[in-house]
Symmetry: C2
Subunit: 196 residues, 2 copies
Protein backbone atom coordinates (compact mmCIF):
# COMPACT_ATOMS: atom_id res chain seq x y z
CA UNK A 1 0.00 0.00 0.00
CA UNK A 2 2.25 2.75 -1.16
CA UNK A 3 0.42 6.02 -0.86
CA UNK A 4 -2.20 5.50 1.81
CA UNK A 5 -5.25 3.86 0.27
CA UNK A 6 -8.25 6.05 0.79
CA UNK A 7 -6.93 9.51 1.40
CA UNK A 8 -6.52 12.41 -0.96
CA UNK A 9 -2.95 13.46 -1.52
CA UNK A 10 -2.28 16.77 0.12
CA UNK A 11 1.33 17.92 0.36
CA UNK A 12 0.55 20.49 3.02
CA UNK A 13 -1.26 17.95 5.17
CA UNK A 14 1.65 15.55 4.88
CA UNK A 15 4.09 18.25 5.86
CA UNK A 16 1.88 19.21 8.77
CA UNK A 17 1.67 15.60 9.91
CA UNK A 18 5.45 15.27 9.93
CA UNK A 19 5.84 18.58 11.68
CA UNK A 20 3.32 17.62 14.32
CA UNK A 21 5.05 14.32 15.02
CA UNK A 22 8.40 16.06 15.22
CA UNK A 23 7.01 18.66 17.62
CA UNK A 24 5.70 15.96 19.91
CA UNK A 25 8.68 13.60 19.83
CA UNK A 26 11.32 16.30 20.05
CA UNK A 27 9.55 17.78 23.03
CA UNK A 28 9.08 14.48 24.82
CA UNK A 29 12.54 13.09 24.40
CA UNK A 30 14.83 15.78 23.05
CA UNK A 31 16.16 16.72 19.66
CA UNK A 32 19.20 14.47 19.76
CA UNK A 33 17.63 11.29 21.05
CA UNK A 34 14.89 11.12 18.41
CA UNK A 35 15.87 9.89 14.99
CA UNK A 36 14.42 10.75 11.63
CA UNK A 37 13.28 7.15 11.19
CA UNK A 38 11.15 7.34 14.29
CA UNK A 39 9.55 10.60 13.24
CA UNK A 40 8.78 9.18 9.82
CA UNK A 41 7.20 6.09 11.33
CA UNK A 42 5.23 8.12 13.87
CA UNK A 43 3.92 10.41 11.15
CA UNK A 44 3.11 7.53 8.80
CA UNK A 45 5.45 9.09 6.28
CA UNK A 46 8.64 7.98 4.61
CA UNK A 47 12.01 9.46 5.40
CA UNK A 48 12.27 10.71 1.86
CA UNK A 49 9.17 12.80 2.36
CA UNK A 50 10.79 14.40 5.37
CA UNK A 51 13.93 15.20 3.43
CA UNK A 52 11.91 16.52 0.51
CA UNK A 53 10.01 18.85 2.81
CA UNK A 54 12.67 19.96 5.24
CA UNK A 55 16.00 19.29 3.56
CA UNK A 56 17.72 17.85 6.60
CA UNK A 57 17.13 16.98 10.21
CA UNK A 58 18.37 20.42 11.21
CA UNK A 59 15.86 21.93 8.79
CA UNK A 60 13.13 19.96 10.50
CA UNK A 61 14.28 21.13 13.92
CA UNK A 62 14.29 24.68 12.63
CA UNK A 63 10.74 24.33 11.32
CA UNK A 64 9.64 22.86 14.64
CA UNK A 65 11.12 25.77 16.56
CA UNK A 66 9.52 28.32 14.26
CA UNK A 67 6.19 26.59 14.63
CA UNK A 68 6.41 26.34 18.40
CA UNK A 69 7.56 29.91 18.89
CA UNK A 70 4.74 31.19 16.74
CA UNK A 71 2.22 28.90 18.42
CA UNK A 72 3.19 29.93 21.95
CA UNK A 73 3.06 33.59 21.09
CA UNK A 74 -0.32 33.34 19.42
CA UNK A 75 -1.68 31.23 22.25
CA UNK A 76 -0.68 33.83 24.82
CA UNK A 77 -1.99 36.77 22.84
CA UNK A 78 -5.29 35.08 22.12
CA UNK A 79 -5.88 34.04 25.70
CA UNK A 80 -4.92 37.43 27.10
CA UNK A 81 -7.32 39.25 24.81
CA UNK A 82 -10.14 38.09 27.05
CA UNK A 83 -8.64 39.78 30.08
CA UNK A 84 -9.01 43.51 30.75
CA UNK A 85 -5.81 45.37 29.94
CA UNK A 86 -3.66 46.57 32.80
CA UNK A 87 -2.16 44.93 35.82
CA UNK A 88 -4.73 42.16 35.68
CA UNK A 89 -3.65 41.13 32.20
CA UNK A 90 -0.01 40.97 33.24
CA UNK A 91 -0.85 38.64 36.09
CA UNK A 92 -3.14 36.61 33.86
CA UNK A 93 -0.05 35.75 31.83
CA UNK A 94 1.46 34.14 34.91
CA UNK A 95 -1.75 32.26 35.55
CA UNK A 96 -1.63 30.87 32.03
CA UNK A 97 1.93 29.76 32.57
CA UNK A 98 1.05 28.11 35.87
CA UNK A 99 -1.70 26.15 34.20
CA UNK A 100 0.73 25.14 31.48
CA UNK A 101 3.22 23.88 34.07
CA UNK A 102 0.55 21.62 35.54
CA UNK A 103 -0.21 19.97 32.22
CA UNK A 104 0.62 16.30 31.91
CA UNK A 105 3.90 15.67 30.17
CA UNK A 106 5.14 19.20 30.74
CA UNK A 107 8.92 19.38 30.47
CA UNK A 108 9.85 22.99 29.87
CA UNK A 109 9.73 25.22 26.83
CA UNK A 110 10.49 23.38 23.60
CA UNK A 111 12.28 26.37 22.12
CA UNK A 112 14.52 26.92 25.11
CA UNK A 113 15.15 23.19 25.46
CA UNK A 114 16.30 22.94 21.87
CA UNK A 115 18.65 25.87 22.40
CA UNK A 116 20.11 24.21 25.47
CA UNK A 117 20.48 20.90 23.68
CA UNK A 118 22.28 22.55 20.78
CA UNK A 119 25.45 24.25 21.94
CA UNK A 120 26.51 24.94 18.36
CA UNK A 121 26.60 28.70 18.33
CA UNK A 122 25.69 29.58 14.77
CA UNK A 123 22.68 28.34 12.86
CA UNK A 124 18.97 28.95 13.22
CA UNK A 125 18.58 26.51 16.09
CA UNK A 126 20.31 29.11 18.21
CA UNK A 127 18.98 32.25 16.53
CA UNK A 128 15.32 31.30 16.72
CA UNK A 129 15.33 30.96 20.52
CA UNK A 130 16.94 34.38 20.73
CA UNK A 131 14.19 35.83 18.58
CA UNK A 132 11.69 33.95 20.71
CA UNK A 133 12.93 35.68 23.85
CA UNK A 134 12.92 39.05 22.15
CA UNK A 135 9.32 38.64 21.03
CA UNK A 136 8.39 37.51 24.51
CA UNK A 137 9.99 40.61 25.98
CA UNK A 138 8.14 42.83 23.52
CA UNK A 139 4.84 41.22 24.47
CA UNK A 140 5.55 41.87 28.13
CA UNK A 141 6.49 45.44 27.36
CA UNK A 142 3.14 45.99 25.69
CA UNK A 143 1.28 44.48 28.61
CA UNK A 144 3.22 46.60 31.06
CA UNK A 145 2.72 49.80 29.10
CA UNK A 146 -0.99 49.01 29.25
CA UNK A 147 -0.71 48.61 33.00
CA UNK A 148 0.87 52.02 33.39
CA UNK A 149 4.06 50.67 34.93
CA UNK A 150 7.12 52.88 34.98
CA UNK A 151 10.09 51.80 32.87
CA UNK A 152 8.19 49.06 31.10
CA UNK A 153 11.18 47.81 29.12
CA UNK A 154 13.18 47.23 32.29
CA UNK A 155 10.31 45.55 34.06
CA UNK A 156 9.68 43.42 30.99
CA UNK A 157 13.21 42.05 31.21
CA UNK A 158 12.71 41.32 34.89
CA UNK A 159 9.44 39.53 34.34
CA UNK A 160 10.92 37.48 31.51
CA UNK A 161 13.61 36.30 33.90
CA UNK A 162 10.89 35.18 36.28
CA UNK A 163 9.05 33.39 33.50
CA UNK A 164 12.05 31.51 32.17
CA UNK A 165 13.22 30.69 35.67
CA UNK A 166 9.86 29.24 36.64
CA UNK A 167 9.66 27.38 33.34
CA UNK A 168 13.04 25.75 33.90
CA UNK A 169 12.61 25.01 37.59
CA UNK A 170 9.22 23.40 37.06
CA UNK A 171 10.68 21.25 34.31
CA UNK A 172 13.34 19.99 36.69
CA UNK A 173 11.55 19.42 39.95
CA UNK A 174 8.12 18.74 38.49
CA UNK A 175 6.37 20.88 41.04
CA UNK A 176 4.24 23.66 39.52
CA UNK A 177 4.71 25.74 42.68
CA UNK A 178 7.25 27.83 40.81
CA UNK A 179 4.41 29.24 38.73
CA UNK A 180 2.69 30.65 41.80
CA UNK A 181 6.02 31.89 43.12
CA UNK A 182 6.77 33.69 39.87
CA UNK A 183 3.35 35.30 39.96
CA UNK A 184 3.83 36.46 43.53
CA UNK A 185 7.24 37.90 42.72
CA UNK A 186 5.82 39.59 39.66
CA UNK A 187 3.19 41.24 41.83
CA UNK A 188 5.86 42.68 44.08
CA UNK A 189 7.83 44.00 41.10
CA UNK A 190 4.66 45.46 39.59
CA UNK A 191 3.75 47.20 42.82
CA UNK A 192 7.18 48.71 43.07
CA UNK A 193 7.11 49.88 39.46
CA UNK A 194 3.69 51.46 39.80
CA UNK A 195 4.51 53.20 43.05
CA UNK A 196 7.66 54.76 41.63
Amino acid sequence: MPVKPGATIDPRATRARVLSSAVQLFYERGVHTVGVDEIAHHAGASKLTIYRNFGSKEGLVEAVLEYRSEHIHRWLVTRLEGVPAGRERVLALFDLLTRWYARDGYCGCAVVNAAVETRHLDGPVRQLPRAHLTRYRELLEELLAGAGAGRPETLARHLLILIEGATTITAIDGDPAAGHDARAAAEVLLDAACAA
Copy 2:
Protein backbone atom coordinates in the same frame (compact mmCIF):
# COMPACT_ATOMS: atom_id res chain seq x y z
CA MET B 1 53.83 3.10 25.41
CA PRO B 2 51.11 1.57 27.45
CA VAL B 3 51.00 3.27 30.80
CA LYS B 4 52.47 6.71 30.28
CA PRO B 5 56.23 6.51 30.48
CA GLY B 6 57.50 8.76 33.19
CA ALA B 7 54.58 9.24 35.51
CA THR B 8 53.67 7.46 38.68
CA ILE B 9 50.48 5.47 38.50
CA ASP B 10 47.76 7.12 40.52
CA PRO B 11 44.23 5.80 40.11
CA ARG B 12 42.68 8.84 41.70
CA ALA B 13 44.57 11.16 39.39
CA THR B 14 43.48 9.15 36.36
CA ARG B 15 39.89 9.24 37.49
CA ALA B 16 40.16 12.96 38.09
CA ARG B 17 41.63 13.49 34.64
CA VAL B 18 38.76 11.65 33.00
CA LEU B 19 36.23 13.48 35.13
CA SER B 20 37.76 16.83 34.26
CA SER B 21 37.68 16.11 30.55
CA ALA B 22 34.10 14.93 30.77
CA VAL B 23 33.10 18.07 32.69
CA GLN B 24 34.62 20.27 30.02
CA LEU B 25 33.38 18.41 26.94
CA PHE B 26 29.89 17.76 28.25
CA TYR B 27 29.55 21.40 29.14
CA GLU B 28 30.85 22.68 25.83
CA ARG B 29 28.88 20.45 23.53
CA GLY B 30 26.25 18.59 25.52
CA VAL B 31 25.94 15.17 27.03
CA HIS B 32 24.52 13.49 23.96
CA THR B 33 26.86 14.85 21.31
CA VAL B 34 30.09 13.86 23.06
CA GLY B 35 31.13 10.23 22.85
CA VAL B 36 33.11 8.16 25.29
CA ASP B 37 35.89 7.78 22.74
CA GLU B 38 36.38 11.50 22.56
CA ILE B 39 36.50 11.86 26.33
CA ALA B 40 39.03 9.05 26.57
CA HIS B 41 41.23 10.65 23.94
CA HIS B 42 40.92 14.09 25.52
CA ALA B 43 41.87 12.71 28.92
CA GLY B 44 44.72 10.61 27.54
CA ALA B 45 43.00 7.55 28.93
CA SER B 46 41.59 4.42 27.41
CA LYS B 47 37.91 3.70 27.19
CA LEU B 48 38.39 0.72 29.41
CA THR B 49 39.69 2.95 32.17
CA ILE B 50 36.54 5.01 31.91
CA TYR B 51 34.32 1.96 32.16
CA ARG B 52 36.36 0.60 35.03
CA ASN B 53 35.94 3.84 36.94
CA PHE B 54 32.40 4.83 36.09
CA GLY B 55 30.66 1.69 34.91
CA SER B 56 28.85 3.30 32.00
CA LYS B 57 28.44 6.57 30.21
CA GLU B 58 25.46 7.36 32.39
CA GLY B 59 27.62 6.68 35.43
CA LEU B 60 30.12 9.17 34.10
CA VAL B 61 27.43 11.76 33.52
CA GLU B 62 26.20 11.18 37.04
CA ALA B 63 29.69 11.68 38.45
CA VAL B 64 30.08 14.85 36.41
CA LEU B 65 26.81 16.26 37.74
CA GLU B 66 27.72 15.42 41.32
CA TYR B 67 31.08 17.05 40.90
CA ARG B 68 29.68 20.18 39.29
CA SER B 69 26.87 20.58 41.81
CA GLU B 70 29.31 20.25 44.67
CA HIS B 71 31.81 22.55 42.99
CA ILE B 72 29.29 25.30 42.33
CA HIS B 73 27.96 25.16 45.84
CA ARG B 74 31.40 25.29 47.43
CA TRP B 75 32.48 28.07 45.10
CA LEU B 76 29.53 30.22 46.10
CA VAL B 77 29.90 29.55 49.82
CA THR B 78 33.62 30.25 49.76
CA ARG B 79 33.28 33.47 47.83
CA LEU B 80 30.42 34.73 49.95
CA GLU B 81 32.30 34.15 53.19
CA GLY B 82 34.34 37.24 52.43
CA VAL B 83 31.24 39.43 52.30
CA PRO B 84 29.54 40.73 55.45
CA ALA B 85 26.37 38.81 56.20
CA GLY B 86 23.05 40.43 55.47
CA ARG B 87 21.55 42.12 52.48
CA GLU B 88 24.98 42.80 51.04
CA ARG B 89 25.82 39.11 50.96
CA VAL B 90 22.60 38.26 49.16
CA LEU B 91 23.35 40.78 46.48
CA ALA B 92 26.96 39.64 46.29
CA LEU B 93 25.61 36.29 45.13
CA PHE B 94 24.05 38.00 42.14
CA ASP B 95 27.30 39.80 41.43
CA LEU B 96 29.11 36.47 41.41
CA LEU B 97 26.58 35.10 38.97
CA THR B 98 26.90 38.12 36.72
CA ARG B 99 30.64 37.67 36.59
CA TRP B 100 30.12 34.02 35.77
CA TYR B 101 27.79 34.91 32.89
CA ALA B 102 30.49 37.10 31.38
CA ARG B 103 33.07 34.34 31.37
CA ASP B 104 34.26 33.13 28.00
CA GLY B 105 32.53 29.97 26.87
CA TYR B 106 29.64 30.40 29.29
CA CYS B 107 26.63 28.41 28.21
CA GLY B 108 24.39 27.99 31.21
CA CYS B 109 24.52 25.74 34.23
CA ALA B 110 25.93 22.30 33.47
CA VAL B 111 23.61 20.61 35.93
CA VAL B 112 20.47 22.23 34.58
CA ASN B 113 21.61 21.67 31.00
CA ALA B 114 22.09 17.97 31.61
CA ALA B 115 18.62 17.75 33.13
CA VAL B 116 17.13 19.47 30.11
CA GLU B 117 19.04 17.24 27.71
CA THR B 118 17.84 14.13 29.51
CA ARG B 119 14.07 13.90 29.47
CA HIS B 120 14.17 10.41 30.91
CA LEU B 121 12.33 10.89 34.16
CA ASP B 122 13.93 8.34 36.46
CA GLY B 123 17.62 7.94 37.10
CA PRO B 124 20.18 10.10 38.86
CA VAL B 125 20.64 12.40 35.89
CA ARG B 126 17.24 13.82 36.79
CA GLN B 127 17.43 13.46 40.57
CA LEU B 128 20.74 15.22 40.99
CA PRO B 129 19.55 18.45 39.39
CA ARG B 130 16.54 18.39 41.70
CA ALA B 131 18.85 18.04 44.69
CA HIS B 132 20.98 20.79 43.21
CA LEU B 133 18.05 23.20 43.18
CA THR B 134 17.07 22.22 46.70
CA ARG B 135 20.54 22.89 48.02
CA TYR B 136 20.59 26.19 46.15
CA ARG B 137 17.31 27.18 47.79
CA GLU B 138 18.65 26.27 51.22
CA LEU B 139 21.72 28.39 50.68
CA LEU B 140 19.52 31.32 49.72
CA GLU B 141 17.36 30.75 52.75
CA GLU B 142 20.39 30.97 55.00
CA LEU B 143 21.56 34.15 53.34
CA LEU B 144 18.11 35.68 53.66
CA ALA B 145 17.69 34.70 57.28
CA GLY B 146 21.01 36.45 57.87
CA ALA B 147 19.64 39.51 56.13
CA GLY B 148 16.59 39.62 58.38
CA ALA B 149 14.13 39.26 55.55
CA GLY B 150 10.59 38.20 56.37
CA ARG B 151 9.48 34.77 55.10
CA PRO B 152 12.95 33.74 53.99
CA GLU B 153 11.84 30.42 52.53
CA THR B 154 9.36 32.13 50.23
CA LEU B 155 11.82 34.77 49.18
CA ALA B 156 14.44 32.09 48.60
CA ARG B 157 12.18 30.40 46.08
CA HIS B 158 11.59 33.72 44.35
CA LEU B 159 15.28 34.51 44.16
CA LEU B 160 16.07 31.05 42.83
CA ILE B 161 13.61 31.68 40.02
CA LEU B 162 15.47 34.88 39.19
CA ILE B 163 18.79 33.06 39.26
CA GLU B 164 17.76 30.20 37.01
CA GLY B 165 15.96 32.58 34.68
CA ALA B 166 18.99 34.78 34.27
CA THR B 167 21.22 31.74 33.87
CA THR B 168 19.07 30.37 31.06
CA ILE B 169 18.45 33.67 29.30
CA THR B 170 22.12 34.58 29.30
CA ALA B 171 22.96 31.17 27.87
CA ILE B 172 20.56 31.80 25.01
CA ASP B 173 21.10 35.39 24.01
CA GLY B 174 24.71 35.63 25.16
CA ASP B 175 24.20 39.01 26.77
CA PRO B 176 25.13 39.12 30.46
CA ALA B 177 22.64 41.95 31.01
CA ALA B 178 20.26 39.43 32.56
CA GLY B 179 22.64 39.19 35.51
CA HIS B 180 22.24 42.87 36.28
CA ASP B 181 18.52 42.61 35.72
CA ALA B 182 18.22 39.72 38.13
CA ARG B 183 20.17 41.64 40.74
CA ALA B 184 17.97 44.70 40.33
CA ALA B 185 14.82 42.61 40.62
CA ALA B 186 16.26 40.86 43.68
CA GLU B 187 16.82 44.24 45.30
CA VAL B 188 13.19 45.13 44.82
CA LEU B 189 12.05 41.84 46.28
CA LEU B 190 14.45 42.23 49.19
CA ASP B 191 13.20 45.74 49.93
CA ALA B 192 9.62 44.56 49.92
CA ALA B 193 10.42 41.62 52.20
CA CYS B 194 12.31 43.76 54.69
CA ALA B 195 9.66 46.46 54.78
CA ALA B 196 6.90 43.98 55.49
